[in-house]
Symmetry: C2
Subunit: 217 residues, 2 copies
């Protein structure tokens, strides 16, 4: 179980053209833009805001005492994250691609456009789904379940969609190694259950939804 290096995508970010974070007058706090690998908050930071994703995607993770990164959740457009029980963040949040966020202060008197309880229940529900993913016995089952999940989130159930996250991110989310994830993808691909295309093989087309479900059991 190798600890993944997080330096990688930050280097990648430096190659991207730098744009000024737009401070459009949207509500009490403006929109902020992040690039792949940018840190949104760190463990230990004061938790005073919650964030809504306009475009892009975010990974929320913790680092175990042994140094392994453990991704708790991927959040994509329309979702909220950043709510903490205590006054400080217990985890890290990073953009996995170009991402526009709207922060909302939780301490201010400004009314929030979302119920904190609903938000929390939704994230709890996500957590339970992930738990049922991780305990699946084989790597193929976990990856197949992950693909189903992403298909629902990204494409509204449509057959084709783009994975925003790297294989390493998926591995740290599913509790597998990068190699096992890659092998699971190729196995599903060679069995004609999915097809992989595009840059870094991150474009997924589900060819046989019913066999994908069978594979995920």
């Amino acid at each position: 179980m190798t600890a993944t290096s997080y330096v990688a995508e930050q280097d990648f970010k430096r190659l991207n053209p730098v744009t000024v974070p737009s401070t459009s007058s949207f509500g009490p706090v403006g929109t902020r833009t992040f690039f792949a690998g940018d840190v949104i908050y760190r463990r230990g930071d004061k938790a005073m805001k919650i964030y809504r994703i306009d475009t892009g995607a975010v990974r929320v993770y913790r680092v175990s005492p042994s140094g392994c990164r453990n991704i708790l959740a991927f959040h994509s457009a329309g979702e909220w994250f950043g709510l903490e029980a205590s006054g400080h963040h217990e985890d890290y949040a990073e953009a996995i691609c170009e991402t526009r966020l709207r922060p909302f202060s939780t301490s201010g008197s400004m009314p929030l456009p979302v119920s904190l309880l609903d938000l929390c229940l939704r994230n709890l529900s996500f957590a339970y789904v992930r738990q049922s993913l991780i305990v699946r016995p084989t790597a193929v089952a976990r990856v197949a379940g992950f693909i189903e999940e992403e298909a629902c989130k990204s494409a509204g159930g449509g057959p084709e969609f783009e994975l925003l996250m790297s294989r390493a991110d998926i591995a740290d989310y599913l509790g597998l190694t990068v190699e096992s994830v890659a092998r699971a993808f190729t196995r599903l691909s060679s069995r004609r259950i999915i097809r992989l295309d595009g840059r870094l093989h991150r474009r997924v087309r589900i060819l046989d939804p019913s066999r994908l479900i069978v594979a995920s059991l």
Copy 2:
């Protein structure tokens, strides 16, 4: 019905700063008693109440499409459970041993003695802890982490405590088989990190806390 009543040492001061008024002041809802294996609610039941545990312990689980039981959480004295996002329960709840509960209606006009948001945040926090447990690579690491967790919850960090749940429960919680859990226990035991005693070897004494931590990494 097996009247196997494991009388748990309760000190329910720890997690909840909320003080619960006596049942009488809350009118219609009283205390209910369950025995080991009794069902508290089922998947599909209308979710109209939340429950506070007075004494005993509860397992909350789901059943995967493939028929595997997946335990999401163990709750013990002082903790709350049963809150659902939708109007129906997505999971099952059963008593692990003799358990006294206080149900509180969430729909009534009666004020609740606990913040639903706090409750939800706490359960989310539990879920994240469990996730970091499950992804640990080896069976010994998972079981060691589980023992630490239970020591904190049951004995307030004390060196000796009683496991309320069976090895099968632990297995379904950690994503392992019963045999692997048993082997991990014996391994920790023969390495003099813990000692197992009592009925069904459920009494655990932590002999070497620091090596337990090392084993859990």
